[in-house]
Point group: C2
Chain length 480, copies 2
Amino acid sequence: MKDDGLVKEIPKKSENFSDWYTAVVLKAGLADYAPIRGCMVIRPHGYGIWENIQQRLDARFKATGHVNACFPTMVPESFFRKEARHVEGFAPEAWWVTHRGADKLEERLALRPTSEAVINAMFARWVKSWRDLPVLMNQWCNIFRAEKATRLFLRTSEFLWQEGHTLHRTEAEAEEETLKILDLYLDFLKNDLALPVLAGFKPESEKFAGADRTYTMEAMMPDGQALQAGTSHNLGQGFARAFEIKYLDENNTEQHPWGTSWGVSTRLIGALVMTHGDDRGLFLPPKVAPIQAAIVPILFGRNDTAVLDRCREARAALDGIRVRLDDATNQTAGWKFNQYEMLGVPVRVEIGPKDVEKQGAVLVPRDGSGKRFIKFAELRAEVESLLDEVQSKMYDSALARLRAMMSEAGDFDEFRRKLAERPGFVKVAWCGTQDCENRIIGETKTTPRVMVPAEQDKGNAPCIACGRETGTRIHYARTY
Amino acid sequence: MKDDGLVKEIPKKSENFSDWYTAVVLKAGLADYAPIRGCMVIRPHGYGIWENIQQRLDARFKATGHVNACFPTMVPESFFRKEARHVEGFAPEAWWVTHRGADKLEERLALRPTSEAVINAMFARWVKSWRDLPVLMNQWCNIFRAEKATRLFLRTSEFLWQEGHTLHRTEAEAEEETLKILDLYLDFLKNDLALPVLAGFKPESEKFAGADRTYTMEAMMPDGQALQAGTSHNLGQGFARAFEIKYLDENNTEQHPWGTSWGVSTRLIGALVMTHGDDRGLFLPPKVAPIQAAIVPILFGRNDTAVLDRCREARAALDGIRVRLDDATNQTAGWKFNQYEMLGVPVRVEIGPKDVEKQGAVLVPRDGSGKRFIKFAELRAEVESLLDEVQSKMYDSALARLRAMMSEAGDFDEFRRKLAERPGFVKVAWCGTQDCENRIIGETKTTPRVMVPAEQDKGNAPCIACGRETGTRIHYARTY
């Protein structure tokens, strides 16, 4: 019954991962190339995923006391220059506005590559007393970074994200917030996106431009490249000093507050595609799938009315679940099966004349684990439980694949061998100097992704690059 | 018990409307001036209103089959130039990006003042067959127009909006969509924002740059100025021809589709402030108020625990309603009363030791219609019904004020007299020529806002400017 027309047009994931990825993103209607260099259009199916990501993350932000606001997109150049590390990191990739109408601007404006500068400038106006703290603010917005090599969702000149910006009275409170958000993100990635990651500090060279400490979440893609899924930064007092944010504490003494910032972006959609997709197309976790269940009538030209009526009953029974009933008559059921697999719909509901007769329906999970014949009266309970089952199995599979792509190496030769045998994260002892980092990058094209928490790896070992004893362990990998 | 500190800082609405407006927007924490010319920051209380507007409009868009997407912000100059009327209308107020990093761009890019150009360019890629129609797309995004004189929410260089863009097979279908959206907006303005408007065609001179027909909704502010609350445009085939959008119809013949576009913006927040606010601050319609009910404990330093416990019970009983319990001890109840009136919270719940004793609570609606003593057991039902009552009374009051600001004039002298006596909409017969429009603008500073539907005004009358007989009636007013 299957019509493989759609699927034949995409390369195999195992044979040409890069082309497979682009083909799935385009064919499933997640995104398209825009006629502006490096920019994409997020199409409705892709934007539907983002809406669900937004809704589920936003509820978590609000439950932890954060509020949303909206700051300007254009940032005066002088604002960037106030925090030295920040401008160094972001100026080379900024887009610059130089004219309004026919008039040349006195000072050029950058399209925000991130909003620390403009937000902290406003904080300086609003924060006066210890009673104004903490400030727990977030914004959902578009971000601009000049990128030359585009990959849809992973690297584009404009993308969507959320950026949290907070201020606190003490360094300890800022660190607590940084970690609270890291945990919130980890919970979301695990339970909603079924995306396992390694979490921990970034080494010095990979920190956010302006942060004291950056925590990262690093996912591993099937081609052996790490993908940074989100970051949470402890900004210390750097921005507060640069933008002269001061408050009077309870003893009437002027203090600088301590800041954090944190974000995840539409890049997560790319991670979902890569992690869960297969040769038949997308596979979306139920929690964020724009269509959670597709109802496909099996029509033979007789008893079609009874079948379609039953399908409409099914749609009504599944109210509250994101359902699409596809009653188009110009396509075969087989074509539709392929179509909804391509779109990553986690559960398909098939109803034909025999199912109507037997008071049943057929459920087909997208994971290939086989059809289930169920009683129509139990449709809703069965679909709900299958969605839960699919969601949790997706995480388990992804976690097993992540684990299979992690290894350890005791010296440089073993490190190279591990990278060649099984690309992924390779854990090594590393002294942390720029010289050793440069050598490793130069010889293997891998970069230091995420440090292993000290409590997990006690004791010294020789740095794989220079042989000096070090207590630091870190995961190296190639990256997007 | 009242502490008027907060309120004293704002001018009276009736004495200095313009300063009153700015003071309320700033004091209530809706918005602030950004350090970029003409730009604003939307602060959490203002953004909370926008989130509710988004949620309630978006549900209506989706219920009528529209889907969301995300298109690029930067639009190549050549794209604008494809539709002649369009570029003429928007080029003078565009912000221009000329550099990416250190490189000068070959073609400069405008920050979108509206997205017809880039969206129709993508439509040309996606639409091939009659089966691809209709296209019913919307995006929520930021918009950029170089404005010199800023008024928070009403006129800023960057603002937020939604813009719908659709394509249809016939002119009739496009007109049907244009009107369906106008109706959807009118329903939203009436039932959610309590905002009465006059709806109808724009005259030629006020049409959207590139539209065949523009429908507008015009609200009347208390200072006698009209405010355009939203527009719905029938674009005809202009953009489809300019961007070469073609599809094969059922007879395999190439056709251009017919387009529409429509939008409302954060300007609606300004309309809410002006329409419903008073000398005590904001007054927000319950449907979109970020805080629908504020619970204020009345504390005397004895039995406070019982009062606070009861307030927490009240918060739990009101679950699902947007409630804030203010248990801060460093401010008096009187200060809080003023504060929540300033913030426009539609209902206040007061609970003191006597209320605890009597198993009651006090409800105070923001409209000044007086306290209500209720049984605590009926708290939820009473608050819900009071919110409904407040919502519907807000519309009734606003409608009565709008009607009081509408008049008619038979000739130019009467027109001038009406404008002087009672600024607002003045309905006149008008021949529609640019000469007569120029004369009216020149002598009275009013512009033609919205045409009266033909079925409402039959028969000819002399144009107030030139005296020629005309069947056209139109509302003239000053405007923002």
